[in-house]
C-alpha cells in the first residue's frame, strides 16, 4: 500500500533521529528488500527516497490494528535498553498521530547490531 510505504519511510526517518540509533536495517528478509529496491529503481518509483529509506515495516490488520516493526543498530555509548525504549515510545507516538482511528498499535523493535566504541 502506498500510504503505508510513505508512513514506513517517515517512521524510518524519525527513528534515525533517536539518540543511540545508528542504523535501521530492513525488517523484511534482506533478499526481499534488495529485490524491492532494484524493482523500485527500475520503475523509477522511489521518487528520490528509495525503498531503502522505508525499512520500518508498517501493516494494518483487518480489524484496523496497526503494527510497526523496526530492526535497528545502536551505539554502545548509550545503554541499549534505553535506546530501545526511546524508539518504541517514538514509534507509538507517531503511529497514534498517523492512525488516530487505529486503536492501540503494536510496536516491535529489535536490536540486531551494537556498535562498540572506537577501539572496542
Amino acid at each position: 500500500m502506498s500510504d503505508d510505504s510513505s508512513v514506513s519511510r517517515e517512521m524510518t526517518r524519525i527513528i534515525c533521529t533517536v539518540p543511540g540509533v545508528v542504523d535501521v536495517f530492513p525488517s523484511r528478509s534482506l533478499v526481499r528488500s534488495i529485490a524491492d529496491n532494484l524493482v523500485d529503481g527500475a520503475r523509477g518509483t522511489s521518487a528520490g527516497a528509495g525503498a531503502g529509506d522505508a525499512t520500518v515495516v508498517v501493516s494494518r490488520a483487518a480489524d484496523g490494528v496497526v503494527t510497526a516493526t523496526a530492526t535497528i543498530g545502536v551505539d554502545a555509548g548509550l545503554p541499549t535498553p534505553d535506546t530501545l525504549r526511546a524508539v518504541g515510545d517514538e514509534l507509538r507516538r507517531q503511529l497514534a498521530t498517523v492512525f488516530p482511528q487505529g486503536g492501540d498499535p503494536i510496536v516491535n523493535v529489535n536490536v540486531s547490531h551494537i556498535t562498540s566504541p572506537a577501539g572496542h
Binding site: P26, S33, I34, L84, R85, D104, V111, I114, S116
Partner: protein
Amino acid sequence: MTEDELDPTSPQERLLDGLDPEDLDGHTIEELSDYLDAGRQPRDDSIENSPGSRIALDALSRLRQESWAMLEVEARTDSATERSWIGRVIANISRESRAGRAIPVSHPDPATHLNISEGSVRGLIRAAGDGTYAALIGTVELVGDVTVPNEEITVNTTASVAYGENLTVVAEVIRQKIAAALHRHTELNIVAINVSIQDVHTPTTPESKDA
C-alpha cells in the same frame, strides 16, 4: 602469501570452506575479509544491511587492528595447533554472528515488544574481551533460556592470551569487562561468567624464533 596460505587443503582454508553462508546472509568470511581490504568501498548494501555481516566485520576489524599481523606470522610459522586456533576464532565469528534468539527488554506497555538479538549480544561480549591485555576471544556461549526474563544465564567464553601475561589477572579483567557490558546493555540475569584461557600466543617474529 605463502604456499601454505594458498593451499586449499590447509586447515585454515578447510575451516573457511566449511562455514555456512546462511549465517552471514549469504556472504562468506572470505568475502567480508576482501570487503574490509577494499576499505568497504564501493559500498555493498547486501553486506552493510546485514546485521550478521556487520557483527562479523566488527570482529574481523578488531582481529586485524590488534593481533592479525602477529597471528598471521604464527599461522605461517607455528604449529598446526596454533593455525587451528586462528581458524576456530574465524569460524566462531561467523557462527556467532547469526541473529540467534531474541533477548527481551522490558517495556511498561504490553503492546510494545523490545528485543536484542543474541548475535548482537555475543558480538558485544567479544568486543568487551578482545584486546584486553592483547587477548583474543575464541568462543562465546550464552547458556540458559535468554528468551525468558529473569532466567539464570551463564556466559562461557574461551580466550587466547599473550605470552607473559598473568593469566588469572587477564581472565578476571575480561570477566569484569563482559559483566559491565552485559549489565549496561541487557536485562539478562547473569549468574556466572566463565573465562577459560585455552591458548597462549607468542608475539614473536620468525627471525626471533630462529635466534
